[in-house]
């Protein structure tokens, strides 16, 4: 026996194994010639050949998750989308590792990306989130050309579930690029009661299996067409084919779990009590006290996250006193402080989980919440919701957070509720145009807008970040859209933003111009007429001929416009908008006029309601609106006597 040869053989094998381990599996697994080509997917920049993930769940809620994916890129855009592979993880919750990446080239060559190229770094600052525990591992994919396939595998070890002994998952089976095959499987102990629901259109297949003391659930779908986005469509999480999975028994359990995380932090310690006393000193009115506390938490505690606290960092808030001392925190910290302070004035206050981005599914108890607010339980048992993160808002919950699912955290747990709808009249905008025209057709004009609710919030926000000069420039630009030669009277023009948030924000522009009436031959068109239509959003809703997805109108508001034109005796009105009415489930429009000697007054009202117009109703609604629109005329025309 030749020992030398045996030794060499062992060394060579060892070296090969080492190389294998270093570079990943050396053998090609995908035959690129058998994969789809661009013409099979018109309009697509890439196609996911397979997206296979498997989760091995433990009874404590920890798991190992493997994702194995292959994407074929067809063009520049596709290569850009898949130019890098990355994964993120939070050091407090586990790890995530890119196991291997391969590039299959059109000529059959397989390029293994060296693991040395994978960079793991802390995340950058994302807005006001400074989280050094969140890491990102990333690698740029080399040697990419059209019709390459990128294959990779990522393994996550999730060791610290937010809710011990529980598991949640939300699987979206659709994307903005086509997918050939998607398989998601869950292997879990038979002792765990895993429930699931399929939502959206049909197509997801479910298979079940047993493997010893484990059960396996497999969801799969093939030939998934890409989503073609439409304007004003609901969130993809709401319209796409999706699967909800949970091991949690009820919403109450989530409520209780969250309560246990939050409650210890809600203690109103000495400094918290002192602050409440200072803010509410001498105030007896309940609403005023609530307003005072709200204003403090909203306006004086800035929105910054400098780190995650506790074992369940990212879910667990900082203590009320800590947030008060630093005067910064994110939504959960502010919600806790708000609740603690409200309790000091005897309010039955709670912290609430919500998701303002879309109305989450409630069919199964899964925490898809991403925001925390505060609630006061009123005497009738109903909750009044307050969000102290929305700078510039009054204590009334803004439109964006209305009609969303909320989960109040209580000791015994509660089921979900709804944040309720807002009366559109709370977002009232009053537009007034008064034009005083002289015989030489020069004019002095007053253009004012009074904003309430969410409309005022935008102005208050702008005021926070802009200088007075910027706002003054803005007023000038608004007016010069309609009359380029306008001279703004800066002393009389202003934006009033009262400290009392229950009072409206008023923008008033006083200007003179020789051209409020634009002369076209013998006709004079009133230039400010279009200004009165600010706020009505009708035309933008119905651009498409038909829709696949619902049309979602989020904002409810009321806009009332009045135009008063005082004109001289050498001209007279020739044409102006007459009465009209339009009524639908989402919009009410009406207009009226009065003509007296030397004065033409036009009024219009528009009320917009949040609504969802389903695809089957869209064409009818579109037709109705178009018919109305083509028969209305907003031109105000004068002629000389």
């Amino acid at each position: 026996m030749n020992m030398r040869k045996i030794f060499d053989g062992i060394m060579l094998t060892g070296l090969l194994l080492a190389l294998f381990a270093f570079y990943g599996c050396a053998g090609a697994k995908i035959d690129i010639k058998t994969t789809p080509v661009k013409k099979d997917y018109k309009g697509a920049s890439s196609v996911t050949l397979f997206d296979i993930s498997h989760t091995k769940l433990n009874t404590d809620g920890s798991y190992e998750h493997t994702c194995h994916k292959a994407v074929k890129v067809f063009n520049v855009k596709g290569r850009k989308m898949y130019s890098a592979v990355s994964t993120q993880f939070c050091k407090d919750y586990g790890t995530s590792e890119i196991k291997y990446i391969r590039v299959y080239k059109p000529n059959g060559e397989v390029v293994n990306v060296s693991k040395k190229k994978i960079q793991t770094m802390p995340m950058p600052a994302l807005g006001k989130f400074f989280l050094d525990k969140i890491m990102i591992s990333k690698v740029e994919i080399p040697d990419l050309e059209n019709n390459c396939i990128i294959e990779y595998e990522i393994v996550d070890h999730f060791t610290n579930p937010p809710m011990e002994n529980n598991y949640w998952d939300f699987l979206l089976f659709e994307d903005f690029q086509p997918i050939v095959k998607k398989i998601v499987s869950l292997e879990y102990p038979e002792s765990m009661n895993i429930k699931y629901e399929l939502l959206g259109e049909e197509g997801i297949k479910v298979d079940k299996a047993v493997k010893g003391k484990k059960k396996i659930l497999k969801f799969s779908m093939e030939n998934i067409e890409k989503i073609k986005a439409e304007p004003m469509m609901p969130a993809l999480n709401k319209v796409g084919r999706r699967v909800l999975i949970t091991s949690t028994e009820s919403w109450k359990d989530i409520s209780k779990w969250a309560y246990e995380l939050y409650e210890p932090k809600m203690e109103a310690t000495g400094p918290v009590k002192e602050k409440v006393e200072e803010l509410t000193k001498g105030i007896t009115d309940r609403e005023e006290k609530i307003e005072k506390i709200f204003r403090f938490v909203c306006d004086e505690i800035r929105y910054v996250e400098v780190g995650m606290v506790g074992k369940k960092g990212g879910f667990e808030p900082y203590a009320a006193e800590y947030t008060l001392k630093n005067k910064y925190g994110v939504c959960r910290d502010k919600a806790v402080l708000m609740a603690a302070m409200l309790k000091c004035i005897g309010e039955d206050a709670y912290v609430v989980l919500t998701n303002p981005m879309y109305k989450i599914d409630t069919i199964l108890p899964i925490s898809l919440f991403n925001h925390a607010i505060t609630a006061i339980k009123e005497k009738d048992g109903k909750y009044r919701f307050i969000d102290s993160t929305t700078f510039g808002a009054n204590v009334d919950l803004p439109e964006m957070e209305r009609d969303k699912i909320a989960l109040v955290m209580t000791k015994d747990g509660e089921s979900w509720t709804n944040t309720g709808k807002k009366d559109p009249y709370k977002n009232l905008m009053l537009v007034n145009i008064q034009s005083n025209i002289k015989r030489d057709l020069s004019s002095k004009n007053i253009f004012s807008i009074e904003m309430n609710g969410d409309m005022a919030m935008s102005m208050r926000n702008a005021k926070k970040y802009l200088k007075d000069m910027d706002i003054s420039d803005m007023l000038e630009q608004i007016v010069k859209q309609f009359a380029e030669d306008a001279k703004v009277d800066k002393k009389e023009s202003k934006i009033e933003i009262p400290d009392d948030f229950n009072k409206p924000v008023i923008m008033r522009i006083v200007f003179t111009t020789a051209n409020v009436l634009q002369k076209s031959g013998k006709y004079y068109k009133f230039n400010l007429g279009d200004a009165s239509s600010m706020g009505s959003g009708g035309p933008g809703y119905f651009n498409l001929e038909k829709r696949k997805y619902p049309l979602k109108i989020d904002m409810g508001m009321v806009a009332k416009a009045t135009i008063e034109i005082n004109y001289p005796s050498n001209i007279k009105p020739k044409s102006y908008p007459k009465k009209y009415n339009f009524k639908s489930d989402y919009m009410d429009l009406s207009s009226n006029y009065s003509l007296k000697k030397g004065r033409l007054t036009l009024t219009s009202d528009s009320i917009m309601f949040p609504a969802t117009i389903m695809p089957k109703d869209y064409v009818t609604e579109k037709k109705k609106y178009n018919e109305f629109e083509k028969n209305t005329n907003s031109d105000i025309i004068f002629i000389k006597r």
Partner: protein, 613 residues
């Protein structure tokens, strides 16, 4: 004991020469009513930047910022210090807030974080060491004061065989008011360094001194109070009026040319990749070698080997230029490296390489634009600019003329007696090809239909699309074209037999640049503000008459040229609208002179009136 006392005295002496009475500064700080507009004010702003070769401490900065108004805490409450993890170290000496009569220290464990900079992400393996240290200050609100003092030290020196290039510009005024300002710049005494203090017309009180201590040169700028600059729309660049300390040890552009040449040709290579035609080469560079961006000079002009760049198929600007050079050479061209300067610096006597806007190649006829998103039909830099072509001994300035063609719009509208219209609308995207290509490429029919519908309804709300065509999105040699046929009911709405023709283009675009009445600063338009549009309307009527046709109108200044012409031909009207906006500077005096004229002309613009027969 004696030694100890001496040492303590020395320490106190050194300390006291730098020591600042922070409490006094806070006590005597201005109230918000005395400083309009500002969200915050620097009560102290002291920075020393040491460029000396052997200096370990490169930067020492100490500042106090008082929050004056809501918004100030958001802007200043979190301080970011950028550094290179592999080369530098940041030491926080002081970080605290003064509020409600007491000091609150920043919790160093919880409120000081080291995170990546975004450059680390977009750069792949080029710049993973880019870091930022974030300090979040507690207890902020109106009248709170933050104090931050830090140093940036070198961990290790990069050995440089050749001359180290030192250059920069320090702008000594900004958009936040400042008090007690001291900026110190220290250099090794070398013959090559040239310095100057520009815009020294004393808009506010300051001193600027130069001190030679034998081995170093120390430049110090001091001012008790510097007012804030309140920005205006399209305002002239700060370079024109802010005091600037400018320095450079690059003697001439030729010297810089030699430096870059040497770096770029440190080795000779062969690429051996050929293409059938120029189009193929450009396509490869723009589509097959993606941009992985990092700061302009981060690679230090040491390009990777061609083999690596071709293997990666991604590159930063220097490596892309390097690859382009060899591809052009192998495909029969005579390329040279060049810098692009799309805005001429004011201080031409100083060589500041960061003033260049791009680095690419010139082949004797054109300078190339091979950024991945620039899918223009000829991939040249076609804006009017100067390029500096690199040579072994000397460089050469070449002027590139404007090759921009205008975006052309042709619109034919036929209006019947009810005011209903059939419309044909066509746009040829000569100048905006990249934007349109990126938007419209690789979509299917459904998506095209939605996009075209959205687009058409901006111009003609509530119209109905009959047909459309999108051409030349992928043809690099031709401008993209979008054509749409539409129908719009009641396009003209009649009231008492009279209707106005509301054309979108019937407004003066130039007016928006002259909307501000009380400017303090001149107007300056950057190269990306440039625009050339040509719009043709052909409007015909049936069963109607033209009751009024507006007069021609035009406005022309150095930067703007806009005109609208109306020509009646029987039962139709032709309208030609031309708009040219150039980049450049307009001083405040010229602005004031032109403003009223432009606005008056714009307000004279009227509309076509149509009457039922």
């Amino acid at each position: 004991m004696k030694r100890f006392i001496l040492f303590s005295l020395l320490f106190l002496l050194i300390f006291s020469s730098y020591a600042v009475d922070v409490d006094a500064l806070i006590k005597n700080s201005p109230a918000k009513d005395s400083i309009k507009e500002a969200k915050a004010i620097y009560l102290l702003n002291r920075t020393t930047v040491d460029h000396r070769e052997n200096a370990k401490e490169k930067v020492h900065s100490h500042f106090l910022i008082k929050i004056l108004r809501t918004g100030g805490e958001d802007r200043f409450g979190d301080q970011h210090i950028y550094f290179d993890k592999g080369l530098e170290k940041v030491n926080i000496l002081k970080a605290r807030t003064y509020a409600d009569g007491k000091w609150i220290e920043v919790d160093r464990k919880k409120a000081i974080k080291v995170l990546s900079r975004f450059t680390a992400f977009s750069a792949g393996d080029y710049y993973p060491n880019a870091r930022q240290l974030v300090v979040a200050f507690p207890a902020l609100g109106e009248n709170a004061v933050i104090e931050l003092e830090y140093t940036k030290e070198l961990l290790k020196r990069k050995k440089c065989k050749e001359k180290k290039l030192i250059y920069g510009e320090a702008y000594l005024q900004g958009s936040t008011p400042m008090e007690n300002v001291e900026r110190t710049y220290i250099f090794d005494k070398e013959n090559d360094l040239k310095t100057a203090f520009k815009n020294d017309d004393k808009q506010f009180e300051y001193t600027f001194t130069e001190k030679d201590n034998g081995t170093s040169l120390i430049y110090t700028f001091r001012s008790g109070s510097i007012p804030m600059i309140i920005n205006e729309p399209y305002m002239e660049s700060y370079e024109r009026f802010v005091p600037i300390f400018i320095f450079s040890n690059i003697g001439s552009y030729d010297e810089y040319s030699q430096y870059v040449y040497k770096k770029m040709f440190a080795r000779t290579e062969k690429c051996g990749k050929t293409f059938k035609n120029d189009n193929g080469l450009i396509k490869f560079m723009t589509e097959d070698v993606r941009d992985v961006w990092f700061s302009f000079s981060a690679s230090g002009f040491s390009p990777y080997k061609l083999k690596k760049i071709l293997k990666n198929r991604y590159a930063g600007q220097v490596d892309k230029a390097y690859l382009l050079y060899y591809l052009l050479k192998d495909n029969g061209k005579s390329p040279q490296f060049c810098f692009v300067q799309n805005r001429e610096p004011l201080f031409k006597d100083f060589i500041i390489p960061s003033k260049f806007s791009a680095f690419t190649c010139y082949d004797g006829e054109k300078a190339y634009n091979v950024e991945s998103d620039s899918i223009d039909y000829d991939s040249t830099i076609h804006d009017k600019c100067k390029i500096f072509v690199i040579g072994e001994k000397a460089g050469k300035w070449i002027e590139i003329g404007d090759k921009i063609k205008p975006k052309e719009t042709d619109c034919t509208i036929s209006i019947d007696k009810n005011g209903d219209a059939e419309i044909e609308y066509k746009i040829i995207y000569n100048g905006e090809a990249s934007t349109v290509r990126n938007k419209y490429r690789d979509k299917d029919e459904d998506e095209y239909e939605k996009m075209i519908t959205e687009f058409a309804k901006e111009v003609f709300p509530n119209s109905k699309i009959i047909s459309y065509d999108i051409e030349n999105i992928d043809d690099r040699e031709k401008a993209p074209v979008i054509s749409i046929r539409l129908k719009k009911e009641r396009y003209v709405k009649f009231s008492d037999n009279i209707g106005f023709l509301n054309l979108r283009e019937n407004r003066f675009a130039v007016s928006k640049y002259f909307s501000k009445d009380d400017r303090k600063y001149g107007l300056e338009l950057a190269p990306w503000n440039k625009m050339m549009n040509l719009v043709h309307y052909n409007i015909s009527i049936d069963g109607l008459t033209f009751d009024y046709i507006p007069s021609d109108i035009a406005v022309k200044t150095d930067l703007f040229d806009e005109s609208i012409k109306f020509t009646k031909e029987g039962n139709s009207i032709k309208i030609e609208k031309m708009l040219n906006i150039n980049s450049g500077y307009m001083c405040i005096e010229t602005y004031e002179k032109e403003k009223d004229n432009v606005n008056r002309k714009a307000s004279e613009l009227s509309q076509i009136v149509i009457k039922k027969q």
